[in-house]
Symmetry: C2
DNA sequence: TTGAAAGCGCTAACAT
DNA sequence: ATGTTAGCGCTTTCAA
């Protein structure tokens, strides 16, 4: 690889003259300037990034973004937001753990060795201890969980409120027997959503029924089937996410139930592509994921610069009504 | 930031002794070793990545992955594949152009200034000149287009064959009047698919009808609607991708046509989540995207090392039959 | 077992 | 206008 000294040698000038020309600083005679540029181009010279970073005071910021699954639209949107906030002069190092928690924790542990200036952790399953440890070395932004640590800021969605809204919406549409598919203990957000559901049910003096399921279509399908076979009378379903809702809809249809006439359904996440494609279009709770990614990156930059005023940033979800929840209300 | 010399000062040893301890090389007395480790931990020492990269011969490879839209499952899967191939000891710098070609070209042009050792370009809309220029500085892997350049290798899917398979499948299922939604001139792959469609139609002495559309649901919907309103007799539709197919299905249903009984439909890309959720489940042409990403990264590493034997790697698509194309065949 | 010193490629302050 | 030089933080060879 060509470097400054080689160009200097070939053009009979000093290294610093070459540096000046290539950076457009200082004054250099036209003749030398042209010659230097010519040789540099001919050699295919590219400045050495690491040498630059060392010698310069102003660095290019590098943020490590750790996600469990880049194929999941949620994390893809998050990534998009982070990229947006990074603009021209920061780099995003994407680290996908392939849904493997062990790999994820290793990635987080190693992040600091890669010239990364701060990390954004896209999910809440990583251990508190790890977050505490890594944050002594490097600024951290985490999602969905609050930490009382110096070098950490949290981005949280008010999941409880979102779930509350969803449930209340079903109630206002005339549902009495509303079940919730979700609430496994594995994910913090899952628990929060279950709580919001319960709150709305209790407020309306209705009996909450929670069927614990994970986060994909098949568990939604199975969970719904289980409930139906148990003989529950159901006229509304609040699902912990859209995929689960899609599975549930499938199970409901198989039993000959009409949506929303017999059973109203609502999901969570508002994955547009999915929600609009299902039949009937699925109502859902929208979280501003992309914006959350942007804010995460901006807060991380503040943290890196040392101006960490904010410790926690709460986003409020929004109800998006489509057909699946619009049961005719008897007034 | 703590550095070696600070630790050295605090422990009254030389920098090189500290370096040895921290890297587990050479022999150092137990006493000093412990002390050094203790101080390093206390100071929250993290080695300076750039300094390391400069001093060491063996580098951590850094690959720049440029995609037009990380939210598109295609590119998300591609990214996943690249990440997989990178494993523990290479970094992926993700650069999303937000579907902005200008931004994309800028990203590519600047990649070499960021310590990136090679780039993977995830789409074929970038100009040939740019690929040629950048490849004089840095190894490049491109998708979907072949270049006769030294420092470039191409990964291509046999789009034509995929389209041919899809069309032939419809023909074998008894369709006679098959239209194609796709074939805009903007994308190379789009043209290739249209060609494959035409080949299959000609082979069966059927008349090809191409309705040019882009790549999302709404254009599929509009395109299909246009054709129907023009009064075409249609019993089969081959769409340039799954989203277009979903739009087309919507338009067909609105006209009261049954799928697949009246009209058989097939897409391209085999976005599993989408295909399985649509009603009826959508047949499609599968491309092994993740694997393509893995191969791209591996070939890039070879290119970086200088062992570029392969200039081009062709993947063969696969037909995935679901219900949407299974018209009863009169035998 | 320990340390001095060279060097990685670059920038920038300071001569000349 | 041009060059000299001192770092940036680390690894590594070589000498003590």
């Amino acid at each position: 690889m060509a470097n400054l000294s080689e160009i200097a040698r070939l053009t009979n000038v000093s290294i610093s003259t070459v540096s000046k020309v290539l950076n457009g600083k200082g004054r250099v005679s036209e003749a030398k300037r042209k010659e230097i540029l010519r040789v540099a181009r001919q050699l295919g010279y590219t400045p050495n990034y690491h040498a630059r970073s060392m010698a310069r005071k102003s660095k290019i910021l590098t943020v490590g973004l750790i996600v469990p699954d880049i194929i999941n639209p949620f994390f893809a949107s998050l990534t998009r937001g982070v990229e947006k906030a990074c603009g021209e002069d920061s780099l995003v190092i994407l680290m996908d753990s392939f849904r493997n928690l062990e790999r994820e924790e290793k990635l987080i542990k190693n992040a600091r060795f890669f010239g990364i200036d701060g990390i954004i952790i896209g999910n809440s399953r990583v251990s508190d201890d790890l977050v505490e440890e890594i944050s002594t070395y490097i600024p951290v932004v985490v999602f969905d969980k609050f930490y009382e640590l110096d070098n950490v800021v949290s981005i949280v969605l008010d999941n409880r409120y979102g779930a509350y809204m969803a449930t209340k919406h079903l109630i206002e549409n005339g549902c009495k027997n509303i079940v919730h598919l979700g609430g496994t203990h594995e994910l913090y957000v899952s628990l929060e959503r279950a709580r919001g559901y319960e709150a709305a049910m209790n407020e309306a003096s209705l009996k909450p029924v929670v069927e614990p399921v994970g986060y994909n279509e098949s568990v939604g399908y199975e969970g719904m089937k289980r409930l139906l076979e148990l003989g529950f009378q159901i006229d509304g379903v609040f699902c912990m996410n859209d995929l689960v809702a899609i599975g549930a809809i499938k199970a409901l249809k198989e039993k000959g139930l009409r949506i929303p006439e017999d059973v109203a359904v609502i999901g969570f996440d508002n994955d547009k592509e999915l929600c609009e494609i299902v039949d009937p279009p699925l109502s859902s709770i929208h979280q501003p994921v992309e914006e959350m990614g942007e804010v995460a990156a901006k807060l991380l930059f503040e943290l890196i610069k040392g101006n960490s005023k904010i410790k926690r940033y709460v986003f409020t979800p929004r109800l998006v009504v489509r057909q699946s929840s619009l049961k005719k209300v008897k007034t």
